[in-house]
Amino acid sequence: QDEEAISFSQYPRPADTPQVNSDLPDLKDIKIMGYSLRSRDYRYTLWLGFNPKTFKVNVSDVHAGELYMLADDPGQDNNVYSDFEPSVMLTKMASLP
């Protein structure tokens, strides 16, 4: 009961760069899904290729990543994703309960 919990959220995008329907893409236009994982120490987000017909995400198709270490960066202004080896992060995610 006292184990640290993780919360998740997601957001769809139609493209890699902002366009007029980036805020509210129709289902058929969703090409990328951003999955966020947050704990009390960090927020980690991967923007992954998404197939709106099958609703499947392709974890090999990483469009972008975000990582914010909240102790030093509570405002989430300093993305340190590129400072970490992606495979190391993915291994850590896989070991989550």
Binding site: S22, G34, Y81, S82
Partner: protein, 441 residues
């Protein structure tokens, strides 16, 4: 014994509340509610103890890495509300826009009010609870979820029309729309009308033995900021400040940035000729947006106060569980963004407050009332002690099982890994244990 439920949902309300540590906002009625409630400080999106592996079948052959993503709530109105009210994650509802009804699109998932109705409750909806339109079958999911058709305030039809007096003296569809209420159609505004109707409904249920579930969905602080102009006086513009980080971060991936298109479309914002997609909005206008948002929060807080006062006056405060939450948050200029269309914490962090009589508060029948109304316009900001908090992450899919249990019903069973065919189950946790458990660590 079964408790009544008063379920209050604000629209686009971030944790800009006194009880969540915001020192600028005046939200005395919600703060008073929080002082007698369990406050979940970190309600973002869903948290799940089990890990659903959705990706293994598309991993390249030979890759031994098994990734588990538990897919949960997104910061957009319709999927967010449907997800919360069905206690299913977006990848179960498969709703990523507001153009589908879950019972047709995905599965015949039971909703929170529907469950209460099936257990003998009289269920009622006032205002924006389900997302209107196709997303709730054009009926707010009546009759499944509600004993009577949902009520919507008549004055809402003016919300997107040209109701805001501009500098030219003409009416516009502005973002910033503080008005003289007496000059509005009907001399009212949607959340005032909703509160009037909710008060009326509470009076009809006061002496009925059948327990009730009343959901009240306020339309504020969603844009446009069409609010009584007197609330702006609580936030003098000279005292407003910009967001602490108002610039687009250099290392923010372009895909992560949301261009706040709905804000841009408002007449007063269009006149500013802001470049797409990064802007920025001129600083003085940024201050005015923040001022109007906070004023909208105070206005909504006053409506919550009116509702809770009525609950009290009718003698229902000691037999009614009150839940206060929001569908998602709103960016106020952080990272150069506005609105809600991102994964940042300001858009996903929401208030979640549970008042349970006899559990979070002991009602002393000999003393003063539980929820005396506090007028933010005339009364000084009271200080409330918020001491029943939970800091660990919780999810809005937890609301359904938790409300059920705290009202005296059995919480729905956890969903199986594949739950499309299962009508009643929950992908959230029953948080009832947290009401008696002291958080460690």
């Amino acid at each position: 014994e079964r408790r009544n439920v008063l379920f209050i949902m604000a629209d686009d309300l971030r944790t800009s509340l006194g009880c969540y540590g915001d020192s600028v906002v005046k939200s005395p009625n919600i703060d008073q509610l929080a002082s007698k409630s369990k406050v979940f400080l970190n309600a973002y999106a869903q948290v799940s103890w089990c890990c659903i592996c959705l990706c293994s079948e598309i991993l390249p052959r030979g890759n031994l890495l098994k990734l588990c993503f538990v897919l949960s709530q997104q910061a957009v109105c319709a999927p967010s509300r449907t997800s919360m009210l069905t206690s299913r994650r977006p990848d179960t509802t498969r709703l990523y826009d507001f153009k589908s009804y879950w019972r047709v699109h995905s599965g015949n998932y039971t909703t929170l009010p529907q469950y209460f109705k099936s257990q003998g409750y009289f269920t009622m909806s006032v205002g924006k609870v389900f997302h209107p339109g196709i997303a709730s079958n054009h009926t707010d999911d009546y009759p499944y979820s509600w004993s009577i058709p949902a009520y919507h305030p008549a004055s809402f039809r003016y919300e997107k029309e040209k109701m805001c007096k501009g500098e030219d003296g003409k009416l516009h569809a502005n973002l910033l729309c503080a008005v003289n209420v007496t000059q509005q159609p009907g001399g009212t505004l949607p959340d005032m009308e909703s509160t009037d109707e909710a008060v009326r409904l509470l009076k009809t249920r006061a002496n009925d033995d059948v327990p009730f579930f009343l959901a009240v969905g306020f339309h504020k602080p969603h844009i446009p900021f069409r609010i009584p102009q007197e609330y702006l006086g609580l936030y003098p513009i000279e005292q407003m400040t910009l967001a602490p980080d108002p610039n687009v971060p250099k290392l923010l991936p372009p895909v992560a940035y949301n261009p706040w298109t709905d804000v841009r479309k408002r007449d007063d914002v269009q006149k500013l000729n802001i470049s797409f997609p990064y802007g920025p909005i001129p600083k003085d206008f940024q201050l005015r947006i923040r001022q109007h948002y906070y004023a909208a929060v105070s206005y909504m807080d006053a409506q919550v106060g009116r509702l809770l006062r009525t609950l009290d006056e009718l003698g229902l405060a000691n037999s009614t569980t009150v839940v206060f939450t929001s569908d998602h948050g709103w960016s106020l200029g952080e990272h150069g963004e506005w609105a809600k269309y991102s994964n940042f914490d300001v858009t996903t962090h929401v208030p979640l407050i549970f008042f349970v009589p006899g559990v979070t508060s002991c009602h002393d029948q000999l003393r003063e009332s539980t929820f005396p109304f506090i007028d933010p316009l005339t009364q000084s900001k009271p200080i409330f002690k918020i001491d029943k908090v939970m800091r660990n992450m919780v999810e809005l899919v937890d609301v359904f099982p938790t409300v059920s249990y705290m009202a005296g019903l059995k919480a729905p069973q956890p969903c199986p890994d594949i739950s499309f065919q299962k009508e009643l189950c929950t992908e959230g946790n029953n948080l009832a244990y947290t009401f008696q458990h002291q958080e460690q660590g």
